[in-house]
């Protein structure tokens, strides 16, 4: 049984201009111990999927799903209870995720205290141990610091240590490297891999960056316009992508273009979240679109554990 089991998740958010379809039909199956990447452009619903899993969808949001379960518990009822206990989050911008006026010691201590009853000294040691586990060289000094005295990479390690302090075994990492330098980001990804291996964590990695998927993830799900359009082991998705959108994403990577050539871009833009979509949402931008694509929802195609939604037969891809 997957740890996180989401099938046909739909999140609608009321706005003054009418309801916004932030997530239309996302299915995610995340097994214990894996790092599962969720990739897509801004507005594809990846962050909202994570927020709904944490029970932090905006006020008044309507959440519907065929299945929306974490370890057997229905997230529609239990998300708030699981948040901070079994489900943790690593935010995008560590500078914004840490409280600017509290010392790291206070912020670590508050998290440890919220989850365990320990004497002061033991909590302090625990905080130092957790910081050391994230690879921070001098935990004692970091504890005495305030966030503005730390570098971005150090801040992100503190955020990860806080998530570990909750004792959560499932972490949602929302673009954990976007705010960091490339080399620091790579270190953070390596750290997450190490923690997953050592502590048996499971990670949902939200990203818009194929390199992050390639570098850190075991399996990946591609989202487009609020739907999951392709999912499978990372090697399969990267090397033999089934969905034309995934292929377009890979072609748009700078490394894919020959040296000196113009970078490929995906023509057009994603459909606005208020439109109704009858067929395949990618059809207007798809180079291989057929008349049927705009009219009917695409069928699921599969190769081993690698699945995608497309009208094109497998060998035509």
């Amino acid at each position: 049984m997957p740890l996180l089991d989401i099938s046909d998740l739909c999140v609608r958010i009321p706005t003054p201009e009418g309801e916004v379809h932030a997530v239309r039909a996302v299915s995610l199956r995340i097994e214990r111990g894996e790092i599962h990447g969720v990739i897509g452009e801004s507005g594809c619903g990846k962050t909202m999927t994570g927020m709904a899993t944490l029970g932090l969808a905006p006020k008044g949001a309507r959440i519907e799903a065929a299945r929306f379960h974490f370890d057997g518990a229905d997230l529609r009822e239990q998300a708030k209870a699981l948040r901070g206990k079994r489900i943790g989050m690593i935010a995008q911008d560590p500078a914004a995720a840490l409280n600017p006026v509290l010392s790291i010691a206070r912020q670590m201590d508050d998290v440890i205290r919220a989850h365990r009853t320990l004497p002061r000294e033991a909590r302090r040691r625990e905080a130092a141990d957790l910081l050391a586990a994230t690879g921070l060289p001098d935990p004692g000094r970091v504890l005495k610091s305030y966030p503005h005295q730390l570098s971005g990479g150090m801040q992100q390690r503190v955020v990860i240590a806080q998530a570990l302090a909750t004792g959560a075994d499932f972490l949602i990492a929302d673009e954990p490297t976007t705010a960091l330098d490339v080399s620091v980001g790579a270190q953070v990804l390596a750290l997450l891999r190490k923690l997953v291996a050592e502590r048996g964590l499971t990670v949902l990695m939200i990203t818009h960056d194929m390199d992050v998927i390639a570098e850190a993830c075991d399996r990946a799900t591609v989202l487009y316009a609020g739907r999951s359009v392709e999912t499978g082991p990372v090697e399969a998705v990267l090397q033999k992508p089934g969905h034309p959108y995934t292929r377009a994403l890979l072609a748009a990577l700078p490394d894919a273009a020959p040296h000196g050539a113009r970078l490929a871009a995906i023509e057009g833009s994603i459909p606005p979240p208020r439109t109704r979509i009858a067929g395949c949402a990618f059809a207007p931008r798809c180079p291989k679109a057929m008349p049927v694509c705009a009219a009917e929802p695409p069928p699921e195609r599969a190769r081993d554990r690698h699945t995608w939604l497309c009208h094109l037969p497998e060998d035509a891809a």
């Binding site: 944490l54 932090l56 948040r83 901070g84 206990k85 489900i87 943790g88 989050m89 935010a91 911008d93 914004a96 995720a97 840490l98 409280n99 600017p100 006026v101 509290l102 010392s103 508050d110 998290v111 919220a114 989850h115 305030y146 503005h148 955020v159 806080q162 998530a163 302090a165 909750t166």
Partner: protein, 340 residues
């Protein structure tokens, strides 16, 4: 280290303010009056009396020399003699200043304790009944004239319920029947020094109504400012992050959001403390509170310049010290303040 440097810098700046005010007070007290000697000599003076006063006041010396004498006297706590009562001003201040400080400190504390938690609560329940009730209450607290609120409080708590005394600093049984030895003139401190818990409790009950009256305006303002600052902070990412870490809601509100939101309220509380020192004349009159406000307003009516000068100096120093304390408190709450 940063913090120490910051405190030092603020202290030096405060010293400059005090020197500047000393100069202004000197101008107002000794240069502006057309003839201080005539004022000093009293009504219908003879020529000899005025000449004698000129000599006593050293009015014939050059201005810089007079300023030096004046500043030295102020620094040593020698505020001179009241034109009107001929009493030593320093002696008067020893009686009035503690009474005023006691009231100002108590009311400032009340304003903080009432205004800030209510502001946090209103922000946490934004748009729901605690917020609406709090907003109504804060507007009422700010808009209500002090003397009117004072009389309503007296009517309800002293007259109808009879649970708090009407006015004064101590009940007659204690003030006359078993008086406290006067050491500091802070009734609370004197009661503790004498080990008289009965007198201490009695003094506290006398403080409640005037302090509440004085606290109403700053509490209302502090509540509004805390509410709006908290609403902004509660949207921040680190508050969302704190939620994902499983912290309890009270902990998030008071432990994480409030320290980010306290700055504006602290500033206003500092200003209202200064106001309470001399601006509380009506409250002092209604509650028969022997404070600085009454002392100085009588001096103003009598053109008693040495008293006005002395009170201005003392209030300036209290105000500067209070502001310094608030600056330090801000830096302790938010370590980034010391950097700017």
């Amino acid at each position: 280290m940063e913090l120490l440097r910051y405190i030092l810098r603020r202290t030096v700046l405060s010293a400059f303010v005090v020197v500047g005010v000393t100069f202004l007070v000197f101008i107002v007290a000794q240069v502006v009056p057309s003839d201080p000697a005539a004022l000093y000599a009293g009504p219908r003076p003879t020529a000899e009396q005025i000449e004698k006063a000129r000599q006593e006041l050293n009015l014939d010396a050059p201005l810089p020399a007079r300023f030096a004498t004046f500043a030295a006297a102020m620094a040593s706590g020698d505020f001179g003699v009241s034109y009107k009562s001929r009493r030593l001003i320093a002696e008067d201040l020893k009686a009035y200043l503690p009474a005023t400080l006691e009231l100002a400190v108590f009311s400032t504390g009340l304003a903080l304790l009432i205004g800030i938690p209510l502001g946090v609560l209103a922000a946490a329940r934004q748009g729901r009944w605690p917020d609406r009730l709090g907003s109504f209450g804060s507007i009422a607290a700010v808009a209500m004239p002090t003397f009117f609120l004072a009389m309503i409080l007296q009517l309800v708590f002293a007259q109808w319920l009879g649970i708090l005394p009407l006015s004064g600093r101590l009940s007659r049984e204690i003030a006359i029947g078993a008086p406290l030895p006067v050491v500091t003139n802070f009734t609370l401190v004197d009661a503790l020094l004498a080990g008289r818990l009965d007198a201490f409790g009695n003094a506290v009950t006398h403080l409640v109504l005037p302090a509440l009256t004085l606290a109403s305006y700053p509490a209302g303002v502090a509540m509004r400012l805390t509410r709006s600052a908290m609403i902004e902070i509660l949207e921040r990412r680190h508050v969302v992050a704190a939620r994902t870490l499983g912290l309890s809601e009270p902990r998030i509100l008071f432990g994480h959001a409030l320290p980010n939101a306290m700055g504006p309220a602290l500033t206003v509380i500092g200003l209202s403390f200064a106001y309470a020192l001399t601006g509380a004349v009506l409250v002092e009159i209604i509650f028969a509170w022997p404070g600085l406000g009454r002392y100085v307003s009588e001096a103003i009516l009598a053109k008693d310049f040495p008293v006005i000068a002395a009170v201005t100096m003392v209030v300036t120093i209290c105000y500067v010290v209070m502001n310094l304390l608030i600056d330090i408190a801000q830096a302790l709450v938010d370590p980034r303040v010391a950097l700017s």
